[in-house]
Every structure is written in C-alpha cells, then in structure tokens.
C-alpha cells in the first residue's frame, strides 16, 4: 500500500519491545538488556513502576517511603542505569504481525507512531473486578486497587471516614494505608473468614517476609479498634447524592448473602473483589486464551518462562495470570531472558536457577489469588435493579432479559445491549456478565469467553490517526462493478 502519513517514518528495528513497565515488564527489560539486546520499554504512566510500584507525584516527593515506593525507586534506578530506552505516557493501540517481526502502533503526546520489533514481551498487568452491588456507582465509591493508586500518587485518603470492603490481602493493605495517611477506617469488611486465611498458612510460610507484612497490617487495624467483619460483605451503598454509609451482611460458605444486615456510616467506600488479567494485547497478537479460576479468570496460554505458541511473543506478570508482584518480578526476568534467548543469547542456565524461586513466589501469589477470587454465590449481591454496565447504564434485569431470550455468550449480550461497547470496553462489566450467563445457563464459566478484543486497545483521537493526510494520496481503487 502507498500513502500514509505523518509519523509512519521507517522506524529502527527494535530487538525486544516490552509493553508495561511494572515489576514484570521492568525486569524483563532489565534482563534482556543485560544480554546486550536493544530494548524499548513502553508504559502508559510517566515513570516505570506499574500499578503496584507507582511513582509518587512530584508534589509529594518528600513524603515518607513505603516498601512499594522503595521497590519502585529501585526498579526506576536500575532502568535508568541500564540506559533502557523507556518511553512513558505511551499507549499501544494495535499490534500487527509483519514479515520480520511485529508492528506495534502507539499513541504518545497526541501522535500515533509505529514501532517495529523482532520480539515482543507483553506485561500488561491486571484490572480490578468489582461485583456490582446496589449504589456502587455513587460518588465516594472507589475500587480497592484504584484507591491504592490514589495513595501512591497523591498521598490522599479517599475520604474522612472510609469503609474498606473486599477480598484477599488488599483489603487490609488499603485499610492500613488509609490510617497511615490520616483517614479514619469505619470498618474492614471481608468475605474471607479467619479459617480461609488459616488454610493458606502453608503457602504463607513459604514467604514469611510477605506474610509478616500482612500480619502487621491486620495487627495495626485491630490494635486501633477498627472493627473487622470476617465472612461478610458490603451489600449496598447508602446515601442520596453520594456515599453516606453502607449496609453489611454475613455470607454463607458459597459467599451468598445470608441473614440480618446492619449499617455503618461513612463518607467513602473502597470496594474490590480480586484482579483480572488484562489479556487484550496478547489476544491481539494471536495468543489463545483459557479459563483458569486459579489464575484469576481468562488467561493467555503460555508455556515455560513466558513463551507462547506465537513465535517471538512472550508474556509475564499478572497479565498472564494473577500471581502477585514478587512472582511478577521473577516471571519478568524469565520472560526477558526467553526473549533474549530467542534472539541468540544463552540464558538456559540462568533461567533454570530462577525457576524454583519463581515457582515459590507463584505459590504464595496463587494462595492470595484463591483468597481474592469470588465464589459463585457472590453473584447474588447484584440485585435486579443494580447497574451492571456503567457505560450504558444497564441493570441486571435488562441483562437477564437478554440472556433469557437466548443471548448465551458475551458477544451476544454485547451486540444486543451494547454492554462492553462503551468507553471502558467491557472492563467493568464483562466478567460479571459472563458469570451471570454461566449461572443462568448452568454452564461452567470456562464456556463463556470474553468478547473478541477490538483495536484500538484504548480510545485514540481521530486527529492523531488522520494526521498529515493528503487527499491526493488516496488510493483510488478500481471502481466497483456496476
């Protein structure tokens, strides 16, 4: 094809392009660079660190350091020292296979750009799942993971008096951070029971350092007389224009709400029910997916050390299954080494040494994922008039009507109702809808894959895509047959 346009100048051929500069992607870039490869590291944020090791905003640089902050600073220093070509504020919107590698199309500073690389390492991380409950779209409700971004970047608590409700270790981390930042925690509410946690002791014992840190959060919360409601969930948000409180209820073993409810006053609520791998970029590069509840849901199919069935594409970190940050670092190193090996480096020994450490960290991470992933009864928290799709304001009733008249797949619900066609691209509703279809049709979730991802991976301005267009460059085709 002729034309086009603007920034599509012939790019240098990159050895290894790493997408995502969190613990996985950052370490993949470092490992590949150690083997002398020309590495480019892309990330949506300004600085490396990902969601978990997010860099502080420049206005709060003097704030006290946290373990996440230190880990992030260490990664950032290493990336600078290794002279890795890091490009922040860069979003990828399309991935295309080419004869000698891959074209990765990105948006940066309002301009589109095409990068060409021999190999790709995708470390696209995860996004949060929130089971929709009545009132969850009110101002003052934050995702648990979303709230941590707020803390790390701006050091501000979500409100004066916050209820923290959710699964796994994150709920305790968020509660202790809110207190550290001067906020009041009205209550910690978690579907997990103390017995659930005890059952994970063998995994916790493998990473005493991490387990101890979690124990300290919990001890800190308890010593400050913040009530912890185990085996419970916030089941609805109270308030007219914004959060004024929340209703809490006990859950049964399957996490279905059961028995009496009670209310707690608060001006804000943090709510989160586990992480979901962000798999759209791997899917666009042609990697197949499978359902793995132990890894957080639908995950790309990967082999050892981040290798995939698509030649030249490697995956690592939470985007390949939720194993947590410590495992992600090691997984990133392994995938970076695999990519270097693919380009001729000898890394087998190094990988063999690292693999047991990764497996150990992964066992710990998977135990946390198991605590974080909702059980089937949790879907009962969503009521008939609860908004499920925020972009299109679709209630559970509207979705169940569609499923009842035969829309038996994520794609069918999306086509019929636009659930997943809004700005979030299905990030918020897709998992809840798939779980609902599975429940309604009495089929396993493994039979209800997400809708096919469609580029651009993030909305892209028309002005960027059509920049420098010259009308005379239009390829005039042979006229269609009359």
């Amino acid at each position: 094809m002729l034309l086009l346009c603007g920034t599509a100048q012939m790019a240098d051929l990159i050895d290894i392009l790493v997408v995502g500069a969190g613990p996985a992607g950052g370490n993949a870039a470092l490992a590949a660079a150690r083997h002398g490869k020309h590495v480019v590291l892309l990330d949506e944020q300004v600085k490396p660190g990902g969601q978990i090791w997010r860099a502080k905003d420049s206005s709060i640089l003097s704030a006290p350091q946290t373990p996440e902050g230190s880990a992030g600073d260490a990664l950032r220093a290493q990336i600078t020292k290794a002279q890795i070509d890091h490009r922040g504020s860069t979003r990828i919107w399309q991935i295309e296979r080419q004869s000698e590698g891959w074209d990765v199309h990105v948006l940066r500073d309002g301009q589109v750009e095409r990068l060409t690389t021999k190999t790709l390492v995708l470390a696209t991380g995860a996004h949060e799942f929130v089971q929709p409950i009545p009132g969850w779209t009110k101002p003052g409700v934050f995702g648990l993971a979303g709230a941590t971004a707020l803390f790390k970047q701006n050091l501000s608590p979500p409100g004066q008096r916050t209820i923290v409700s959710g699964t796994g270790p994150l709920v305790f981390f968020v509660a202790s951070e809110i207190r550290r930042l001067g906020g009041t925690v009205a209550a910690v509410v978690t579907p997990n029971t103390r017995r659930d946690w005890v059952s994970k002791l063998p995994a916790l014992a493998r990473r005493v350092d991490l387990a101890l840190r979690g124990a300290l959060w919990i001890a800190h919360i308890m010593m400050n007389r913040v009530p912890i409601f185990w085996g419970c969930s916030v089941v609805s948000v109270e308030g007219v224009a914004r959060v004024e409180g929340a209703e809490i209820q006990k859950l049964d073993a399957n996490w279905a709400p059961k028995g009496e409810t009670w209310s707690i006053d608060a001006d804000s609520l943090c709510l989160g029910h586990g992480l979901i791998p962000s798999i759209e970029a791997p899917q666009l590069s042609g990697i197949t997916i499978s359902y793995r509840s132990d890894l957080g849901g639908w995950v790309p199919d990967i082999g050892q050390d981040g290798a995939t069935s698509v030649e030249g594409v490697f995956l690592c970190g939470d985007g390949a299954g939720i194993r947590g940050a410590t495992a992600a670092e090691l997984h990133g190193t392994l995938a970076g080494l695999s990519a270097a090996e693919h380009l001729g480096a000898r890394t087998a020994k190094e990988r063999a040494t690292l693999r047991p450490r990764f497996n150990r960290a992964a066992r710990f991470g998977l135990a946390m994922t198991a605590l974080s992933t909702p059980r089937p009864g949790f879907a009962m928290l969503t009521k008939p008039d609860t908004i499920v799709c925020r972009c299109e304001s679709l209630t559970q009733t509207r979705i169940s009507q569609e499923v009842e008249v035969g829309a038996a797949s994520s794609n069918a619900v999306k086509s019929g109702l636009r659930a997943g066609m809004g700005p979030c691209g299905g990030k918020y509703c897709q998992t809840a809808i798939a779980r609902f279809i599975a429940l309604h049709e009495n089929r396993p979730e493994a039979e209800i894959p997400p809708s096919a991802p469609r580029p651009p991976l993030r909305p892209v301005p028309m002005s960027a895509l059509s920049a420098n267009f010259d009308y005379d460059d239009l390829p005039i085709p042979k006229p269609a047959p009359l």
Partner: protein
Amino acid sequence: MTARYDIAVIGGGIMGCATALRMAEGGMRATVLDQGDLGQGASGANAGTLSLQIKRVKLMPYALKGHHEWKAMGDAVGFRKTGGYTLAFTERESELLHERQTLKAEAGAPIEFVSNNHIRNAEPNLTQKVISASYCPEDGYANSSLTGQYYRGRLRDQGIPYRERCPVTAITQDGAGFALDTPQGEITASRILMATGAWLKPTAAMLDVDLPVNARINTVSVTERLKPLTSTVIGHATGLLTMKQKTNGTVLIGGGWQGRGTPQEGRGQVTAGSLQPNLALAQFALPALENARIMRSWTGFEANVPDFYPLVGALPGVEDAFVLGCVRGGYTIGPYISKLMGDFILDREPELPLFDPGRNFEED
C-alpha cells in the same frame, strides 16, 4: 439423535435465518445451525448502510425490495430512513459519480443530483470542498449489531430450533438426505441450505463441490458519542467511505478498506495502514470529527464470486442441496433474496429471477 428435519440451514446470518423463516411459513420443518452465535458474521459486523447509491444496477430491483423488508423490521433492527448523499471532491470523482448514479437512477433508484447550496443547507457540517453530490431519499441504515438478537427472537417466536456454537464438520448423503456431524451430535435432514457467507467454500467442499468464493475483509470503525453532526448517510464517489451518525451520537465509519486474514483463520484483523486513510477520509468529509476519539474498529468478511453476482439456487451436482450467499450488498438485499430462496426450495415460483450457483462465472 433428533428426528429428521425437512431442511437444515447451515449458517445463522440474515440469509440463513430469513430463509428458514420463509420455509417454515411454507410448512417445512427447518433448523438453523451456526458455528458461533446467530448474526455475528458479516450480518453483524457490517456498517449497516442501506443505500441504493452503492448497489449494482442489475441488483436494483432486489435492493428496492430489500429496503421494504428493512422498513418493515423497523425499530427492532434500528432501521432509520434518513436519505443519503454521495460526495465528489474532484472533477474525476464528479464524472464517476454522474456516470454511475445516472445508470442506477435508470434502474429504478430515486437518485437525483443536488446543488452545492442544497447540500450545505442540508448538511452544514460537511466540508466545503464538495464539488458535486447525489442524493437518494430512500437511503438510511439499520443497526447490524442487532441482527443476532432480532433473528433469534423471530426463530423462537416461530418455533424454529436453532443451535449456536454448532459448526458442521462433515456432511454425508444417505438414502433419504443428509447427515451433518456437529459437536452437538448428528443432525439429519432431507435437504440442506448452505448460507455460510465467507465460509461457503469450505462448506461446499464437504460435498466435494468447489464454489469460487473469495472474501473481502472490510473495516468498520466507531467513534465515541458526539453532539449531532450529520443526519444522513454519507458516501463517497469512489465508494471508499460510508458514514452515518447513530441516534446515540456515535459515528460509524466504513467504506470497504481492507484488513487482513482469512475466514478459515477466524476473525479478520484491522490494519493501521488501512484504518488510518479510512478515518482521514471521514475527517476530510466531516471536519468536526477531528475532536472525536475512535472507540473500536473491526472487520467483517464479505463473500463474493468472480462476477460479483449472488449465488441463489441449487448447489451444482447435488440434489436437494442449495446455496445462498455472495450477494453484493447482502445486508440490504439479504432479507428479500432469502424469501426468493425459500420460495424456490418450497417449489414456488420466485417473484424475481435467482442466480444459478452453477453458472459460468467468467461471463457477465
């Protein structure tokens, strides 16, 4: 094993479903099988344009009837009759426009040429660079995303069983008709209709028939919701652009720009090299789009044969097997031509001539 059907329709797009409905009206026991969900192939992926200005001259009578079918389906498929303009920006395009639209008007489409003043009044947000334009009041659009939902409802209402996620992997002929292998078990029928669009070639190959079917890989994109910018269907003399703003404010942009991939590999892929000039042309025609963001782009496979006329009739060399597809403008014409196909299978005289799938494709 289920009882033998009078006919099994392979392919649950517009054509498969609409033909099944026609045959059921005529008293046949029909079933519809789709490899995925109903209406998710070309029927659900196309840009939804219903424009007589982009139909072939010889197919105009079918397209006019097709417009009536869409109007009758109405809100359930998001039908809007808005009128439509086709624009020319250069002298060469202007010549092309006049030559082609004159022939289409002679074939029965109510197409007229309009002045620049007229178009500026009717569509003030279009570029001032239009040098000539044609208008057709019959043009409009429907929402192709609703195809599956619509036909699923119609089939259920008529008690026609359908199976989704049910690819046919082998077809064998027995004494009384056909046996179809599927992951959901064997299905037997006295007759079969192949309506698998871009997948017709592998479908017919299961009965050792070679249909010369190719697929175009058309790209479609949609913007975020925007304030009202345009109220008609906009096309381009070269055919490289179709554009309309839906009632929800999103602008849908097509024009047959080619992605890549093959039906056998699954979905086609959007390529930046095609997408960018497609969008640039849209923004050239409607400059206010420069402030919009593109939310999604996708491709759909449009099946065709070398002479670009439909396949509607008996599958060559196999008794009681039929084929329907490759209708250029298949979204517009599909609901109507399916009635003709149904009538033919029911042994009724079709209202308009069919297109013999056994013809010599090298002759026009």
